[in-house]
């Protein structure tokens, strides 16, 4: 392409001055991208026109700028503040109001929490007292329970003794002067174990204790002292006996029975 002829055709000047048709302008813009000298020629004329216009410049009255700037005030505000200041400002005031809100909420929460703590602490004290009382009560109930269980065990054992067909029952009846006393000896004929049921005996004076004796070949044999027991009291094993008797002896028992203090007697 003869770019020189194109450049010298006047098309560049008409393009820059806005006198070229749309087709001419499109063609020139395309050629500018392809040919540096055409592009340079355009830039040269643009520079020339600009230089000319600056030489011919006439200062407009100052009020034009004032009117212009005030006419665009809202657009300046829109263009700048939403991006920088407004967001920062609303952000800051928002965060301040959030901080205030949280501060107020914190104080309220602290007061509420204190009140709640006092209430809960009082509650705790009262519940703890009740708990301690319950614990004591439970312990005493447990102790009672243990006592009863022991007694039930003893009674069950007594029942088994009584139910055992090998066991013989020897009733010990009150002697003259001691008629209101009654006891029974359960004697296992196989194991020779001896159990005593002190059905109804006079209360023992202090320092004294009842003692069971087996009469073997006319002689008394110690069968054990009688302690407090539930149901049957297990006594000493007696292989053979003709009779059983209970005397009141000193605490811990005696080697020989005090015959004057014999309460009950039962022959087999």
């Amino acid at each position: 392409m003869d770019t020189k002829a194109y450049i010298e055709s006047g098309i560049i000047e008409s393009y820059v001055l806005g006198l070229a048709s749309t087709e001419e302008a499109t063609e020139l813009e395309m050629l500018c991208r392809q040919h540096a000298d055409i592009k340079n020629a355009v830039e040269e004329f643009e520079a020339l026109i600009q230089k000319q216009a600056f030489q011919d410049a006439l200062a407009p009255p100052p009020e034009v700028k004032e009117k212009l700037m005030s006419a665009l005030t809202t657009e300046f505000a829109k263009a700048q503040t939403p991006v920088v200041q407004l967001t920062v400002d609303t952000g800051r005031s928002k965060s301040i109001s959030i901080i205030r809100y949280f501060a107020a909420a914190s104080v309220i929460l602290l007061i509420a929490s204190t009140v709640l703590n006092v209430f809960l602490y009082n509650n705790y004290l009262s519940v703890n007292n009740k708990y301690q009382a319950l614990l004591t009560e439970r312990n005493s109930l447990q102790a009672n329970n243990d006592v009863f269980r022991t007694r039930i065990n003893n009674l069950e054992q007594s029942m088994r003794v009584i139910e055992n067909p090998d066991v013989r029952v020897i009733t010990l009846k009150g002697l003259p002067g001691k008629e209101n006393n009654l006891a029974a000896v359960y004697w296992d004929s196989k194991t020779k174990d001896v159990y005593l049921l002190p059905t109804k005996m006079d209360a023992t004076p202090s320092g004294k204790q009842y003692q069971l004796w087996a009469i073997v070949n006319g002689k008394p044999v110690d069968a054990g002292v009688i302690d407090e027991c539930d149901g049957l009291c297990k006594m000493k094993n007696i292989p053979d006996a003709e009779a059983f008797a209970i005397t009141l002896e000193k605490k811990g028992g005696s080697n020989t029975p005090t015959l004057s203090a014999m309460y009950v007697l039962g022959k087999i």
Binding site: E8, S9, G10, I11, E13, S14, V16, L17, G18, L19, S21, E29, V42, E43, F45, E46, A47, L48, I49, Q50, K51, Q52, A53, F54, D56, A57, L58, A59, P60, P61, E63, V64, K65, K67, L68, M69, A71, L72, E75, F76, A79, Q80
Partner: protein, 180 residues
């Protein structure tokens, strides 16, 4: 007005596209004189020229995103906005009416010369004035009054090809005058 640049043209365009008010203010201070003379070369009425100048800068502010640096200088773009706005005003009904009223007192203005500017002394028009008559009329009708070449062809009863060739020759001559 000396052409002292505070910003490079690239920076200025970038700042304008970022909606920098200070860049716009600078743009006005720097270019308003040159654009004002272009407006006045088309619209001799200073009041109207002031309005058009304001309108031109509003357009520049609002349309700066549509400016394409690959197609030419910022000034070329603004100059064309100024010229188009001036021609639009020139052709508006309001202006035509005012003009009719004005014709009655034109002699007064011409002689007094204080209110209306002597249009032939302004800017490019001053150079156009020194072109030969057959060139002058084409530049006058096309550049200063905004007629298309087709319209000029019909108005002057001249073949379109001739209008085109002559106008281009006229512009080339104008270029040479500017270089002097």
């Amino acid at each position: 007005m000396p052409e002292i640049q505070k910003y490079t043209e690239t920076d200025l365009i970038m700042l304008l596209k970022e909606r920098e008010q200070s860049a716009f203010s600078y743009l006005y201070d720097h270019y308003s004189g040159a654009l004002y003379s272009i407006i006045l070369s088309i619209l001799p009425d200073k009041e109207l020229a002031n309005d058009v100048l304001q309108e031109v800068f509003v357009k520049i502010w609002r349309q700066v995103d549509s400016y394409d640096a690959s197609k030419g200088r910022l000034f070329t773009w603004m100059m064309n906005i100024a010229r188009n706005a001036s021609i639009d005003m020139l052709r508006s009904k309001g202006y035509q009416k005012a003009q009719q009223n004005r014709e009655l007192t034109e002699a007064v203005y011409e002689k007094g010369g204080s209110i209306a500017t002597n249009i032939n002394q302004i800017g490019l028009r001053k150079l156009v004035h020194s072109l030969k008559e057959e060139y002058k009329v084409l530049v006058e009708l096309s550049y200063f009054q905004g007629f298309t070449q087709d319209e000029i062809s019909k108005t002057l009863n001249m073949p379109l090809g001739t209008v085109k060739t002559r106008l281009r020759s006229a512009l080339l001559q104008l270029r040479e005058l500017m270089k002097q």
